[in-house]
Symmetry: C2
């Protein structure tokens, strides 16, 4: 029986370490594929089309919007960013569990179109810890940290829309937990309709014997 | 933070080995409590009130029905059988994950009253394997086996109402899978409202600083 992949959306406060968790998942397990966003911004040195992003012109991107070929999109600083369906669906068909690391608003749009998508919210154990991690980076100004914390407070208002809450305290534990949560999705009744049909058919045939 | 237990309903075809799985879960992990049914049938030699069953008179049982003190009940061969809420709720409050091993109709009634209950359906890999296991017991007449298979075909019609499908091929794997499925319920957003409230409060307080 062919096993289709599972669509997984990982969000979380900036500083919660979700990027590190996703990177570790990709490195440790070969069942995952990372969704690649489309954008109209210029490639930066070293970036490759189809690796970091699918780079599109404004016209191409707006054509994707018209064709309903994106799960979600948004505009930041006059550039479009979005999640093309085609790449994700190819990977799912190939049996890969596809990970979308996106922010809360986009995540909820994807969930609306894909009710079976698994929504994971990654958080540090406390807001104090979140602030400490942002400060610990040493790269952010106090203003940026303030802004991130204010944004976290906004995002927290939508946390309840997620399926699972994953506390990122120890990275290794967190990666293992996320992996387990995703793999369990393959046991969902909705993901096993072929098996259910097979058993029903066998049972009804045996009754007729 | 106090952690409430999770209500778990395990059903499956007669011969799927769910009794063995439940027994192994109880032996291997101390986080589980088994729900105890109430019945009006006479205790058999060696059975103890509050261990195998809560033994009730017909009047006592009907009083439980009137008080809505049962998650579900049914009558077989002029005796009542049901699941008292009180014992289950005590165990959940004490942080135990409570396992109800009940048949499909009862399971769906419990889920109706407890939408957060986790519904697991245990099946052998195939109908052929189910028949083989029933025959292998060596204790059932061909008529009883026929009857069990016919009942399995009936139960299969409601399989889709369950949350997860667990294939019991190797017992140890199956027990571990069921354990993991139950434990991940504690990561559900709905089970972590205290943590969510704490983070929201901390974030909004830091904004005010």
């Amino acid at each position: 029986m062919s096993r289709k992949g599972c669509l997984v959306i990982i969000s979380g406060f900036s500083g919660a370490g979700k990027g590190t968790v996703v990177k570790a998942l990709m490195e440790r397990f070969d069942c995952y594929a990372l969704s690649i966003s489309a954008t109209t911004r210029q490639p930066r040195p070293g970036e490759e089309n189809g690796r970091e992003y699918f780079f599109k012109t404004k016209e191409e991107f707006e054509e994707l919007i018209r064709q309903d070929a994106l799960y979600e999109y948004a505009q930041y600083v006059s550039n479009y960013y979005g999640t093309p369906k085609a790449y994700v669906e190819e990977q799912l068909e190939a049996g890969k569990d596809v990970i979308l690391e996106i922010e809360v608003q986009g995540a909820l749009k994807v969930k609306e179109k894909n009710p079976d998508a698994l929504l994971l919210f990654v958080t540090p154990p406390s807001a104090q810890e979140l602030k400490k991690r942002l400060e610990g980076r040493g790269t952010e100004t106090p203003e940026v940290i303030e802004e991130r914390m204010a944004r976290a407070a906004q995002e927290a208002l939508l946390m309840n829309k997620y399926d699972y809450l994953v506390v990122n305290d120890q990275l290794d534990d967190c990666v293992e937990t996320v992996h387990q949560l995703i793999q369990r999705e393959h046991l969902r009744m909705t993901a096993n309709q072929e098996m259910v049909a097979k058993i029903k058919k066998e049972l009804s045939e045996m009754k007729g014997e």
